[in-house]
């Protein structure tokens, strides 16, 4: 039942070491990847896209680890993987009034209707307090573009939900 015995640490050029470093990289990436993908492609796409991204990283560990910005590259991989379900409407979780009584029920549907980049910027910047540069890294766009998407997304939400928030 026990899977096997431990082995010593491998050298820097050893595939074992690459996988270990890849695991460390993914460990730092994954907590950011999940909420970003949730906003980007909806809840149905998150698990598969995260899994695909890790597999891709493990299969190409040496090349990706040598990149100048492996995080940015993996974000792009994850976006590409999640994009496979782009034709389907994005679905976000709809918490019940019992779970989140302070939230306007129309908020989640309004978020779903936002254009993708606006939704991501609003969700991550205002919702999860990401920094502009972090969102820019995930989306692979400039900080100024993130600001614009965020401003437009917030304006649309205010327009749809009205100023008199519950």
């Amino acid at each position: 039942m026990v899977m096997g015995s431990m082995t010593g640490r491998a050298g820097a050029d050893d595939p074992v070491d690459h996988l270990e470093r890849a695991g460390e990289l993914f460990a730092s990436l994954e907590p950011h990847l999940r909420p970003a993908l949730l906003a980007y492609a909806g809840s149905q796409a998150v698990d598969d896209a995260v899994g695909d991204t890790l597999v891709y990283l493990c299969e190409n560990a040496e090349r990706i680890l040598a990149m100048e910005s492996p995080r940015g590259y993996l974000f792009r991989v994850a976006r590409d993987r999640a994009r496979g379900s782009r034709r389907k409407p994005v679905t976000l979780p709809l918490p019940s009034a019992d779970e989140l009584p302070t939230i306007e029920p129309a908020l989640a549907p309004a978020l779903m209707r936002l254009p993708r980049n606006q939704r991501v910027c609003v969700f991550l910047v205002t919702g999860l307090r990401w920094r502009w540069v972090e969102v820019a890294e995930f989306l692979g766009i400039g900080v100024s573009s993130v600001r614009n998407h965020h401003r437009r997304g917030m304006a649309k939400l205010r327009s749809e939900l009205g100023e008199d928030q519950r």
Partner: protein, 201 residues
């Protein structure tokens, strides 16, 4: 009355969730993760990186085994395609919880060999077996052993009729409820958990 920003924060925080992780078993309070165990658990996670790699060889070797393969009830599925779906092992890793700063162990992910079935279509199911300090369930948990169970189609694992006990039976040939130290969980947050038999059940 909440502002739009406050509502967005509440909503995003609620739905984004925390990173998936494995929680140590605590018979007295199953939902509680004792902080004093975290360092040891993280150490186990680091060591399991190597163990997982060792599992690669083991699982590939086992791909030709004649394990039971019931296919209609969501239990063990032995691939019919042979080596093309040979598994390659687990991935364990430690990480720091961004909210609490605590050291945690990352979830277990299945990494297939090139050309195998995409993990998006299959879910790994793992068995987590607490290791007790004195070999008794009444002593402290000092770590965990993990083992690979097999492939479970996603649709089957998501089905309410899915029975992870049958999966365990198919793999190890005994009922996990006969072993009070066994806890079967899934990588997904689904109700696939089997704990010690409830008193009177």
């Amino acid at each position: 009355m909440s502002t739009l920003e406050e509502q967005l924060r509440d909503y995003a925080t609620a739905v984004a969730g925390r990173p998936r992780h494995l929680e140590p078993v605590n018979d007295e309070d199953p939902g509680h993760v004792p902080r004093s165990w975290m360092g040891r658990v993280v150490l186990v996670g680091v060591l399991l990186v190597f163990v997982g790699l060792a599992a690669l060889a083991l699982t590939v070797t086992r791909s030709g085994d004649d394990r039971p393969a019931p296919s209609t009830d969501g239990t063990v599925v032995t691939p019919d395609e042979g080596p093309s779906v040979a598994p390659s092992g687990f991935s364990f890793y430690p990480f720091v919880d961004p909210e609490t700063g605590e050291d945690m162990i990352g979830y277990v992910t299945f990494v297939p060999l090139p050309g195998s079935i995409r993990p998006a279509l299959l879910d790994p199911v793992e068995v987590r077996i607490p290791v007790f300090a004195e070999g008794s369930v009444n002593s402290a948990v000092v770590g965990y052993d993990y083992s690979f169970l097999g492939f479970v189609p996603k649709r089957a694992a998501d089905a309410p009729t899915f029975d992870s006990r049958a999966l365990y039976l198919g793999h190890f040939g005994c009922d996990p409820r006969d072993d009070s130290a066994v806890d079967v969980v899934s990588c997904r947050d689904q109700a696939l958990r089997i704990g010690p038999r409830e008193p009177g059940s």
